[in-house]
């Protein structure tokens, strides 16, 4: 009897503990995000840091995003073909490729790839700065670390991810085109016109809007986990992992929410 009581207590205690620490973390994160965003609109600004981040977040992510969307477009055409031939619906391949790429796949893939590449590097860099007291050093030199470190990354991430996705859209559709025309033997002209005709402005715009949100998620998560990094190499490692995992999950959740908002 007694044993049973204890185990029930333990059970609720465990739930209570994890709920409490979850809400504490959410609260801490919200405060961090609010503070970061408030600094976006207040001088001084660091344009040099911003340009550096544009290059490291945007330009250097181009190969990764280009390759993933390219092969995804190709495989999409191939898979749709094997499925659609059963229903004599081969003509729908072009529209399936261009709609799935612009609405879902380019933003999601770019978001996840950038979460791995950029989120990890932001968390590692800021985490190392935290551990080696460089963030304290910024403050003793009268420079606000939010303005110097967080704001340039946030803006760069939010602005460059849509551009990456737009390029990804083009490359992904091109991947589908190459497979359809050169492997599956479709006519180039009709494939292109089908791809183009089915696209509504909203399909592309919703994808770009998603990308902006994902860019914000990746950079704020990288900064947050870096800022709150534990001590030593282990702390920085954990911060990096957490940044990638939380931003990837948030990207998938927000992708659903945004799709619901845009298309219903």
């Amino acid at each position: 009897m007694k044993v049973k009581n204890y185990s029930i207590n333990d059970f609720f205690q465990t739930i209570g503990h994890s709920l409490l620490s979850f809400f504490a973390a959410v609260g801490q994160f919200s405060a961090f995000a609010g503070l970061s965003v408030s600094h976006v609109f207040r001088a001084p600004f660091f344009p040099k840091n911003f340009l550096k981040q544009i290059v490291s977040i945007g330009y250097y992510s181009l190969p990764v995003v280009g390759l993933t969307t390219f092969f995804t477009g190709m495989v999409l055409a191939l898979q749709s073909y094997t499925g659609f031939t059963r229903f004599n619906a081969e003509s729908a391949i072009a529209s399936v490729v261009s709609l799935s790429i612009t609405r879902e796949l380019a933003p999601i893939l770019a978001g996840l790839m950038v979460a791995g590449r950029v989120g990890a590097s932001i968390a590692a860099e800021i985490g190392t700065m935290r551990v080696t007291e460089q963030i304290d050093a910024l403050r003793t030199l009268s420079v606000n670390p939010f303005k110097y470190l967080v704001v340039p990354r946030l803006i760069a991430g939010t602005l460059t991810l849509p551009i990456l996705v737009l390029i990804g859209d083009l490359i992904g559709i091109m991947g589908g085109y190459i497979v359809s025309v050169h492997v599956l033997g479709f006519s180039a002209g009709s494939y292109l016109s089908q791809s183009w005709d089915v696209l509504q402005p909203m399909d592309v715009i919703s994808g770009l809007a998603k990308a902006a949100v994902f860019g914000f998620i990746v950079t704020i998560m990288g900064c947050y986990h870096g800022f709150n990094s534990g001590r030593g190499a282990q702390g920085v490692g954990a911060a990096t992992t957490n940044a990638v995992v939380t931003s990837s999950i948030l990207i998938l959740i927000f992708n659903y929410i945004l799709t619901q908002v845009f298309f219903s």
Partner: protein
């Protein structure tokens, strides 16, 4: 008598700080007069670093008062606090140089971003400061990762003094250096503080360093300052904690509690 008139540069009253259930600072009272060099000695984990970071404003104490030039800093908002920071220079234990920037820009960082100085002008001052800590101008164009530990400490010192601060903080300035380089750093600290006429607050567990740079020594133990006196009085303190620490003995009142546990 003059003490009654002069406001201390740094004044701490009943400063307390806990992390979780651990009381790190348990009522710290400390005055540092203008132009004085005060060294806090004590073992690892006794609250030295936290004391320093409270005065710097990097950690907010749970209670108590910290005044700089008579102005309370614990209640300040961020913008006012950045103004107070401009009076400070800090030499971090590991140097804390920004590894994405060349050495000269590290030294000039506070001038360029804190004081909005022109880059060329700031570079010239940075180069002078690099020479002042005994290094050549060519070092200015290297990156921190290319420097040895002793050189990084010297550049950290150059950065701390670049904006001619009124108060300089030294966090374990000689830790991790060989004895000769440690003495070089000690000499530089004494020279820089004297040249600037600055007030200095240092923490260290290196007694050779403490004897060299201190006017006043105070010992921290379990979050309390247990002895304060001039550097000359250090050897006749009649305090068994101080005696154990300055002679580096394993046996004594400091370790007695630890041994019992």
């Amino acid at each position: 008598m003059s003490e009654a008139v002069q406001t201390p540069k740094i004044s701490m009253r009943d400063v307390r700080k806990s992390f979780g259930t651990k009381k790190v600072l348990n009522s710290i009272d400390l005055d540092v007069a203008e132009g004085e060099s005060c060294v806090i000695i004590g073992g690892s984990g006794t609250g030295k670093s936290v004391t320093l970071k409270c005065v710097l404003g990097l950690i907010k104490p749970d209670s108590g008062s910290i005044k700089i030039d008579g102005t309370e800093i614990t209640e300040m908002d961020n913008d006012d606090h950045e103004d107070v920071m401009s009076k400070f220079g800090m030499l971090f234990q590991g140097g804390a140089l920004f590894d994405s920037l060349p050495v000269w820009e590290n030294v000039a960082f506070g001038l360029i971003h804190g004081r909005k100085m022109d880059r060329e002008e700031a570079r010239e001052i940075a180069m002078q400061k690099i020479e002042a800590v005994g290094m050549g101008r060519q070092v200015g164009d290297l990156y921190p990762a290319e420097l040895s530990g002793g050189m990084q400490k010297r550049i950290g010192l150059a950065r701390a003094i670049a904006a001619n601060p009124e108060i300089i903080f030294f966090d374990e300035p000689t830790t991790g250096l060989d004895p000769i380089m440690a003495d070089v750093i000690n000499d530089l600290i004494v020279k820089c503080v004297k040249d600037l006429g600055a007030t200095a607050l240092s923490i260290t567990h290196d007694m050779a360093s403490a004897r060299k740079i201190a006017d006043k020594v105070t010992m921290i133990h379990e979050g309390k300052l247990i002895w304060t006196g001039s550097v000359e009085e250090l050897d006749n303190s009649n305090n068994e904690y101080v005696d154990q620490f300055i002679h580096g003995r394993a046996e004594g009142p400091i370790t007695k509690h630890a041994n019992m546990v």
